[in-house]
Amino acid sequence: MAKTHDDFFVGYIRGVPRGSRALIILVILAFVGAMSGAGYFISATQPDPGPGRFFFQHKAFTGILETAPYPLVRVAPNETYPEGHTLLLAGQGKRGVQATAAALAGKVVDVGGVLLKRGTIDMLQVGRRVPLQASVDGLSDDAREAIDLSVTDLGTWRLTGEICDGKCYVGAMRPGTGIAHKACANLCLNGGVPAVFVSTAPVEGTEFFLLSDQNGNPIDKELQRFVAARVQVDGQIERRGDLMVFKVDLNSVEVL
């Protein structure tokens, strides 16, 4: 009489053999349970991306435009910023506003868009409703005087931290830091988005610095290979009104 081979699995003939059944049921339960547990707990332990975010309400400002190292506006005191403020400027997506800003350097401008905020850094994503343009009404003498255009040299510092693109870091991406985000950050920097340095320790109360090279120009593409890594870098810190600028020495950068 032929054997039944009940203990031998042939998928197209019969189900799981009796001798394997308990183990296979256990494997199925373990698989489904482990996938559920892993899905929940890996997600639950994702690091906090930080407090940066968009504020999706259109705002318009008037102030004095500067273009070095990146376009920024010294905003006169207003409803949003009673004491005035420096706003970094970026365009839509991974784009800067250098092309428009070039002709307006040093002039009083109107500019509108949506704000991104994180810590002491505020950025305006320039919109279409009030594009970056020469100011229609200009600034009153009082408003112009209220803008802090002072420049203070805070000396040479060695800082540890991360080079980021200013837009993703302040909330366009959550998180907008780290190695996984490096390619995105490089695309932003290539597009003209301001570069920022996020220090692990504050200097004069701030961890956020607008980056420039030693001559106050936008950072060189060479520096992009250090983007998103934890680096130590030397440079001169300059306070421009309420904005800190870190003029880095490219040769001093060291990946930690």
Partner: protein, 351 residues
């Protein structure tokens, strides 16, 4: 087995296998995207597109790790063989999950830019000369390419088209793909990771995959060494008759390292190649069912006396000449061309 190529030869076991796999994947993704974020306090939630790419990326890693554990587990304990039966569906689903991860990455990190997204993918992070910050994307692209090739060629049509040895060699690329995936995770996710669970799972699964393969390999080597083949002229003495269970196969290594399968059935003995023509499954671990050698992996069948699959099937394997001498089984180590008839040795007609 089928003589015509159908997209999927469904049977109840495959339905259960695929449903369980899909249940695991769906639960993973839903819990990752919907439930965990709602219950976790953060100053701001992670962007949903980034959460999606993390969900599908981590899921693909876990699935591929599980796939690679199945083979050695089935070699170490035959009770795991039902997990191997439909493994290629799991592989295709893993590719789909990995592709979803990649498409979310490309459609988030590489868009909103003046540069074309695919150009940006290969040009925005190219510092291959550094260790920290190495462009880990390249490892991910390579792994995805391997998974694509394997998923596209997973159907039996391609196995026949390429021939089993080439197909098997092609599908061994999965190990290179997995190594590349581990590198993708190590150089990407892990370099900036501050969360505790996924990095631990990465280390656990990569170590488990490695250790299971070492254990399975060691076991087969030990089994080969324990079978002492003695050369007697042109013949090799490979086993004693009483070592062979009726209607079971018996794997024996030849001096050159080749493994053959000897079968005892209906008072006869026959020998064939140990490698199934389908996916190189170990025929010697199979059985004789309905008079045919039956592969333990996918149930492909061959007649023991000529190594031919029963009509209308066309697969063939090599056969070997046997001799029974005073209870010793001797084999001529020269394989016959696949499908060559060899008269079975009748037990009781010992030389």
């Amino acid at each position: 087995m089928s003589v015509k190529y159908t997209p999927v030869q469904w049977n109840p076991n495959k339905y259960v296998y695929d449903l369980v796999t899909l249940a695991g994947i769906v639960l993973y993704i839903v819990l990752f995207l919907k439930f965990a974020p709602m219950e976790i306090e953060r100053s701001q939630q992670v962007n949903y597109p980034i959460l999606r790419m993390r969900a599908f990326g981590t899921c693909a890693f876990l699935l591929l790790s599980i796939i690679l554990c199945i083979g050695p587990l089935a070699r170490l304990d035959k009770r795991f063989l039902p997990l191997l039966y439909n493994r290629r569906h799991l592989g295709v689903l893993t590719f789909a999950v990995a592709l979803t991860h990649a498409s979310y990455v490309i459609d988030w990190y590489y868009v909103f830019s003046p540069t074309d997204r695919y150009v940006a993918l290969i040009t925005s992070n190219v510092d291959y000369g550094q260790f920290l910050g190495f462009p880990f994307e390249a490892f991910g692209i390579f792994s995805l390419f391997v998974l694509l090739v394997l998923a596209v060629t997973s159907h039996d049509f391609w196995l026949k088209f390429f021939t089993p040895p080439f197909w098997k060699a092609l599908h061994m690329m999965i190990y290179v793909g997995y190594a590349s995936l581990v590198a993708h995770v190590l150089f990407g996710y892990m370099q900036g990771a501050t969360d505790p669970i996924f990095p631990v799972l990465v280390l656990f699964f990569s170590a488990t995959v490695l250790l299971l393969h070492i254990a399975a390999g060691k076991r087969e080597t030990t089994a080969d060494r324990s079978t002492t083949a003695m050369i007697e002229g042109d013949w090799v003495n490979v086993a004693r008759l009483e070592d062979l269970e009726d209607e079971h196969g018996h794997v024996v290594p030849l001096p050159g390292g080749e493994r053959i399968a000897i079968f005892r059935y209906d008072g006869k003995l026959s020998a064939t190649s140990n490698a199934c023509a389908h996916q190189n499954g170990p025929l010697g671990e199979g059985r004789i069912i309905d008079g045919c050698i039956t592969c333990p992996w996918h149930g492909f069948q061959y007649r023991p006396e000529d190594g031919c699959a029963p009509t209308p099937f066309t697969e063939k394997i090599a056969t070997y000449r046997l001799l029974l001498k005073d209870g010793d089984i001797l084999v001529d180590p020269k394989p016959n061309p696949p499908g060559t008839h060899v008269d079975p040795v009748l037990i009781g007609e010992s030389v």
